[in-house]
Symmetry: none
Subunit: 315 residues, 2 copies
DNA sequence: CAGGGTGTGTCCACACTTTGGATAAAGTCT
DNA sequence: AGACTTTATCCAAAGTGTGGACACACCCTG
């Protein structure tokens, strides 16, 4: 989030920065004098020249102060943060995600749990929760799955990776769950389905859209979903179906789920769902296609929600 | 979202801590004066600077006080809890764990995810990881399972509880994993087994005994175990088997696992294993009986390990 | 049941620290 | 010329520390 997009290396004078950050200029000078944050360059005539990085530091400082932390302590935190993450200066990290995924895959290949733990923990500093999942964990898992199918990895290695990446993803989700959610969504894997990662990936998207996510987990029968909808009145329901079933059987299963969910909008994703677009459409669900822009799902969901509101108002 | 605020170890002033914990600042000062809990660092000007660890201590203290314990005693318990693992002196807080479990069950009955989350988080202040699991999570899950079988809870509620308590337990385990482990143990659920909680409970015991725990997770086939043993050379293997099979079939399954594990000592627990003591004995495994003192398992394991060392020395 | 002792949360007075903002005087930019 | 910056100094409000005091609830004992 650069303040100005057009000028890459723009420099600002103090009044501009004050307007940009909402921190009065006397305070900016006081902070610099007292805590050394930030330390802008100077012109020959000793005018302060703030860079985007400086503005970013000030923003963080202000945010911490707004949260109630004392400015002196906040400055301490920001200073340590700045020292700890010089690589994340947006310069090189184009392939940082890839490198992180590589490190994870490598640890799995060497069957080294300690290295895997470390690789995963390091990945968790590479951006927002969703970014980490979409660009590190998911690609790593996909490659590990592929190599397992190709016989180059043992099932033990696949299990190990699932366990560690699953834990890390759950932790990410816990860290970003909104405190004051706008809406609620219930997520579950359909009966017989035990692969949970896609569900957590979906959860991260919903969280970013402002939903509170309630996860029922693997192997959730239709009755359980019906109960949840009746008790929680979620704004939406998300299902995951990875294991492929024959068309007839899948239609039967999915109908039971659609009935259980009732008029609440629902989304379904996963490898199995991908192959039954028309069926899902007929049952009133939204298909989250693999590789599709997740925003499309969001838009479709918004349409359904608006429809429901209109219906409710009309009735 | 917040980038990595948790990565920077911040320090807080007294009012921030008061807001964070809900304990008024005069009380914080009184607690420090009277019980020495916590003992924050000071600035040069003798302002108190609380670390995250201090906040954690205060949260625990408050949690115990809220449950009716006298602050002086609570301070005693917390101090023992902080100094070393064995907070064995649980004279009066006997019902604190029970109250916590009750709160969890109640939230599940009301199908209230927010209340459940809060109840679980509060429980996590009540002692060492193992204590929390053994005396809060496990009893709560058992009761929830019972009431579900009795038809008083829906399967959705059971799923919800599993999800939240599972996540909390994984977090506990992550927090206590030793950095410099003495030994390694590989833990897994046998093929077709998808109940994971017992495995994590076992993991917490092994961690307390100084092991590094590598979890392969649910539905782990014998081949995966063989690979893991070959790659990691663990000192022991732990299996979990909840789903009951007929004797013949179980014998066949278990034999394949025993073969896969080889000469490494192995333990098996869970409802299904309980019914096949002689079989397990014949295959050279150690049965972890339900309700049995876990130390017995540890002792049996120590015997096997000593035998192996003798053999290795003799050969 | 009365009375003394105890544990506990809260409050107070007084001195010190932190912090945002104000002012003044001189220099700089446009 | 007028708007903006810089430095330095000052100020007032809010926060904090210390030690003690006080009211209330509780327990035990006579």
């Amino acid at each position: 989030m650069k303040p100005v997009a057009h000028a890459a290396n723009a420099q600002y004078r103090i009044q501009t920065v004050a307007r940009l950050t909402g921190v009065p200029s006397p305070t900016l000078r006081a902070w610099e004098r007292r805590y050394g944050i930030p330390s802008p360059q100077r012109t020959e005539s000793s005018y302060r020249l703030y860079t985007d990085a400086d503005v970013e530091l000030i923003r963080r400082l202000k945010e911490l102060c707004d949260q109630g932390m004392a400015p002196s302590q906040a400055a301490d935190v920001v200073r340590r943060m700045a020292e700890n993450e010089p690589p994340a200066v947006d310069e090189l990290p184009t392939d940082a995600w890839q490198v992180a995924a590589e490190r994870i895959i490598d640890a799995v290949k060497r069957f080294d749990p300690s290295a895997l733990e470390m690789a995963v923990q390091r990945s968790m500093l590479l951006g927002s929760a969703r970014t980490i999942f979409d660009r590190v964990f998911a690609p790593a898992l996909r490659r590990i799955g592929d190599e397992w199918h190709a016989g180059q990895l043992s099932i033990a290695q696949e299990h190990l990776a699932s366990e560690y990446l699953g834990n890390a993803t759950r932790e990410l989700l816990r860290l970003v769950q909104p405190t004051a959610p706008l809406r609620t969504v219930v997520l579950a894997c359909i009966a017989g389905e035990y692969h949970v990662m896609a569900l957590y990936g979906t959860a991260l998207h919903f969280v970013q859209w402002g939903y509170r996510v309630v996860i029922l987990g693997v192997d959730t029968p239709p009755e359980a979903l019906a109960d949840s909808v009746a008790s929680l009145h979620p704004h939406a329901v998300g299902l995951s179906a990875t294991q492929v079933h024959p068309r007839e059987q899948f239609a039967q299963i999915l109908t039971r789920y659609a009935d259980a969910i009732g008029p609440t909008p629902w989304v379904i994703g996963g490898h199995a769902a991908n192959q039954h677009g028309p069926l899902i459409d007929r049952l009133g669900g939204i298909l989250a296609r693999q590789g599709q822009d997740p925003e499309a799902v969001r838009d479709a969901l918004e349409v359904r929600l608006r429809e429901r509101r209109v219906e409710a108002a009309g009735a």
